[in-house]
């Protein structure tokens, strides 16, 4: 890639990219820890995860500040403009994913005080797919890779299917035994949170396609095979 004539500007853009990656890495770890706390019934880990959310929030604020400063002082155009506005939007999605880690941790703490409903099988699978989507969407962002970003968007259906599957399974538990309703509902919430994380990763993927190609694929009925 051709480098900026203005070296300081170039460094600020590199810094912005790096901060998004740092935030993405942190959020990914938060989700992984929250799910682990749920599966292993580890209250300490759940509480630690909740306690770390402020770091995600601080990065969100810092990245917003940097983006605003770049917009105001550099008056970016072309790919820089698309990069900075995409970064500005990605942080919002990452911050929301961070909040989901908190929610999962809260459910983990609640579920830990009650006997287990059933072994977790689909939830960890769903978490793995959602996290892979998140990781790939950020890889696509860094590499400006529209193909990879599109692949992320396509994976969303898989997570939706798993969510539906978990819903049906938990429904049968609730019908069978009304005493299981509270726990089943909590697990169902976790499933919904993970499904939302995949949606956020999809949002990031769509924004990366715009950043790389200058074309919006958002809110289309079907994901285009290529851009």
């Amino acid at each position: 890639m051709t480098v900026h004539t203005d070296r300081q500007y170039e460094e600020e853009l590199v810094d912005l990219r790096q901060r998004i990656l740092t935030m993405g890495g942190l959020v990914e770890k938060q989700i992984a820890n929250a799910v682990q706390a749920l599966v292993t019934r580890d209250r300490t880990l759940a509480e630690a995860t909740i306690g770390k959310d402020h770091e995600v929030n601080a990065l969100d604020v810092a990245i917003d500040d940097l983006c605003l400063r770049l917009l105001a002082l550099r008056q970016p155009a072309g790919r820089d403009l698309r990069f900075i506005t995409t970064a500005l939007k990605i942080t919002t999605d990452l911050e929301r994913i961070g909040d989901r880690a908190v929610s999962i941790s809260e459910r983990a703490i609640e579920l830990g005080t009650e006997p287990p409903l059933k072994p977790y099988i689909d939830i960890p699978r769903m978490a793995e797919i959602s996290l892979t989507m998140l990781r790939q969407s950020l890889d696509a962002f860094v590499r400006e890779d529209a193909e990879l970003a599109l692949a992320v968007c396509r994976s969303d259906d898989e997570v939706d299917t798993l969510n539906g599957q978990i819903f049906r399974e938990l429904l049968s538990y609730m019908i069978e035994d009304p005493k299981a309703i509270t726990r089943a509902m909590r697990v169902l919430f976790v499933s919904k949170y993970l499904e939302r994380i995949a949606d956020h990763a999809t949002n990031i993927g769509e924004m990366v396609v715009f950043m790389a190609k200058g074309k919006s694929i958002r809110h289309l009925d079907t994901i285009p095979p290529e851009v």
């Binding site: 051709t2 480098v3 008056q75 155009a77 072309g78 403009l81 200058g214």
Partner: protein, 253 residues
Amino acid sequence: MANKLEVANLKAWFGGSQALHDINLVLPERAVTAIIGPSGCGKSTFIRCLNRMHEVVAGTRVAGQVLLDGQDIYGPGVDPVQIRGRIGMVFQRPNPFPTMSIFDNVAAGLKLNGIRPSRDELHAIVEQSLRQAALWDEVKNSLHASGVSISGGQQQRLCIARTLAVAPEVVLMDEPCSALDPIATTKIEALIHELRERYTIVIVTHSMQQAARVSDFTAFMYLGRLVEFGVTQKLFTAPEKKETEDYITGRFG
């Protein structure tokens, strides 16, 4: 949107060196088209070819076609003075005639073009031109003061009024704000916005932000060639060509 000017295979030379290579471009009517590009890319030469100003310098040459409403301005028997009446030009530095009053500056274009209106008509044209140039309210009580007694920004609007007085169809502006401060620049830009309702405007500018602010279409030129032409918003957010992207983002080598 109809096409006011159609440029086909336009080439221009300064002596032995070729400044423009096969420019093909269509300038839509009643719209602002900005020409951007690094120094020496041929933007000024290009707009000077649009009203036959390039040829006034010794040793220069032009080839190709420039169609104004379908008629080639380089065609046989076309009077360049008449073309310059239909396609006016505003220059980089405000250049009012220093020995003339504000009034006479605006009226000067008419006289040079052999238009001899009655006294009342002349007054009406001068007032209307100054109003269109958004200068009337500031100078209406000092019309007989010298054309250079007013500020730089006012002088540039005076030059725009002088251009408008001969009722051109196209107004070419060659970096009209480069000698002006930000406030005067804002006034000229607001004026361009108003003038586009009536005139076809082509503006050469070094400021990409200015091009982005004032124009409907933007042409990017490099090394005497037209690299990309398109809707301004598209060109500044997602241009088609890599050279354009490199230039607008400040990545030029």
